[in-house]
């Protein structure tokens, strides 16, 4: 079995994995990193979102062996209970948690999405593709950019408010 080396939430980790293991299963089942959630396991819900080498990605569609050496940041690695990440604090402030199942994925996705916007990446609803036009994260942009994260509790209103606050804080 291949030996996999990862940096997870800042700590170096090693694990022997079967080549068929997804990154999500390696994290949850083998390394007991349970922040990323398994919703659909087929790329359809976003609850397994982590920051993989700095970019938001779906751990359920990533084969663990293909990411040997990678840096993985989960929602648990973004902040602590005493010192939450500003995006986590914004979710608290705006009641964006509800049952919390989709939340770790939502939080990682917001962090990744803010970074993409800061780099000037356009989205499907961006009217002007001009590379110099910049990105204005209005509600339509936030909704589109977060559309890969489904919330079965329908906590979207709170999540949108939390993202608004996070955008303002950046």
């Amino acid at each position: 079995m291949p030996l996999l080396r990862l940096t997870v939430d800042g700590s170096p980790r090693e694990v022997d994995v079967d080549t068929r293991t997804s990154l999500l299963d390696a994290l949850r089942e083998r390394l007991e990193v349970t922040a990323p959630k398994k919703g659909c396991d087929h790329g359809q819900c976003g609850s397994c979102t982590v920051l993989l080498d700095g970019r938001r990605s779906l751990a359920c569609l990533a084969l663990a062996v293909a990411h040997d050496g990678a840096e993985v940041v989960t929602a648990a690695g973004l902040g602590t209970a005493d010192e939450p990440h500003p995006v986590q604090q914004a979710f608290l402030d705006h009641d964006g948690y509800q049952c919390g199942y989709c939340t770790p994925g939502q939080v990682c996705s917001v962090v990744g999405m803010l970074e993409e916007a800061a780099l000037g990446h356009p989205s499907h609803v961006t009217a002007d593709l001009d590379p110099d036009a910049g990105v204005d994260l209005d509600d339509a942009e936030v909704r589109e950019r977060m559309s890969g994260n489904l919330c079965r509790c329908g906590a979207y209103a709170g999540i949108l408010d939390a993202v608004r606050q996070s955008v303002g804080a950046r």
Partner: protein, 328 residues
């Protein structure tokens, strides 16, 4: 899931040799389609040759346009400044597909070679000629909302799901392919095939052929290009129908027009009849509708797909006229 050997290729030639030599070997790009298929039990390779880390991850400006490496991520391609200015249809198509997370993972070659999302293809417990030749086609009498209306056969009525490929068709892209005997170029239009009696073959590539790049040629039409997609939800859903248009209007007359459709056929459908009817004259809504009607004369629809004809006509007219407005 069957046991797998994982190999990380260190060069394109090494990858080609490994897959060519083994009928049970497959390339792995971002994995967003193939890993799903492993889980669904509808793909069972014994060896995966990972090509996502090969040095094929750059978008380079060439004399004629752009050379896009096969491993370039969909998100990076959509955001590339030269794609945004010179080939906006490509940015728009990529941004309309999947989600931010998936676009960060998906590669150019993997996107072109993703397989159909037909529900029966994806459900190993149902007959499907594409998955298992000779087993039958469940979509013929089943759930048909995403079925083809052009170029289908008795053995398969499914559609190709890629948005990016539709834009690349209208942009006259060339695909660069490396095989055991060296490199060849395939026009994007010749990459995917209609089902005929062999729906299990999606493309004209031989086993082991590796896509290394896609090349685009810049022109006034590619600079005035766009992509529109109609779907059941505002986001994160495949196209019911889609259209890519590249247009150049000079002195009120169509100097160059290229139209490709998604969601209607087993491959991106290049609407060449409609294009030739539109070339030369001026543009108004009726002319576009008439040209589309001519292209769609060969279409075959059923109860589930009848809506595609007016929908396609509407979004094609809208896309062409919007571009015409922008060029004046």
């Amino acid at each position: 899931m069957r046991e797998l050997t994982y190999v990380r290729a260190t060069s394109a030639a090494e990858a080609v040799a490994a897959v060519t030599a083994d009928p049970h070997a497959r390339y792995l790009g971002g994995g967003t389609n193939l890993v799903d298929h492993l889980k669904l039990g509808i793909a069972s390779p014994e060896v995966l040759v990972d090509v996502s880390r090969l040095p094929l991850d750059a978008v380079e400006e060439t004399e004629r346009g752009l050379r896009i490496g096969a491993a370039v991520r969909n998100s990076d391609l959509a955001a590339h400044p030269l794609v945004r200015t010179d080939f906006p249809a490509l940015s728009r198509a990529l941004l309309s597909g999947a989600s931010g997370q998936i676009r960060n993972q998906a590669t150019t070659a993997g996107n072109l070679l993703q397989r159909t999302r037909c529900v029966y293809f994806q459900d190993a417990s149902t007959p499907c000629n594409k998955r298992e030749p000779g087993s039958g086609c469940s979509a013929l009498e089943g759930y048909g909302r995403y079925n083809a209306v052009l170029g289908a056969s008795e053995s398969c009525v499914t559609t190709h799901p890629s948005d990016m490929a539709v834009a690349m068709s209208a942009l006259d892209a060339d695909v660069v392919v490396l095989g055991p005997d060296g490199e060849r170029r395939v026009a994007l239009d010749d990459l995917h095939r209609l089902p005929g009696a062999h729906p299990e073959r999606d493309t004209t590539l031989a086993h082991g052929e590796l896509i290394t790049a896609v090349e685009l040629t810049r022109s006034p039409a590619t600079r005035t290009s766009t992509y529109e997609k109609a779907r059941d939800r505002a986001s994160y859903a495949f196209a019911l129908v889609s259209v890519a248009v590249a247009l150049d209007v000079v002195d009120g007359e169509v100097a160059d027009v290229r139209i490709a459709w998604g969601g209607v056929a087993h491959k991106p459908w290049r609407a060449r009849t409609a294009e030739s009817l539109l070339r030369g004259g001026g543009l108004d809504e009726q002319r576009v509708r008439d040209a589309v009607a001519e292209e769609l004369r060969a279409s075959e629809t059923g109860l589930d797909t009848a809506f595609k004809v007016p929908m396609l006509t509407g979004i094609t007219a809208r896309a062409v006229l919007r571009l015409a407005g922008a060029t004046r």
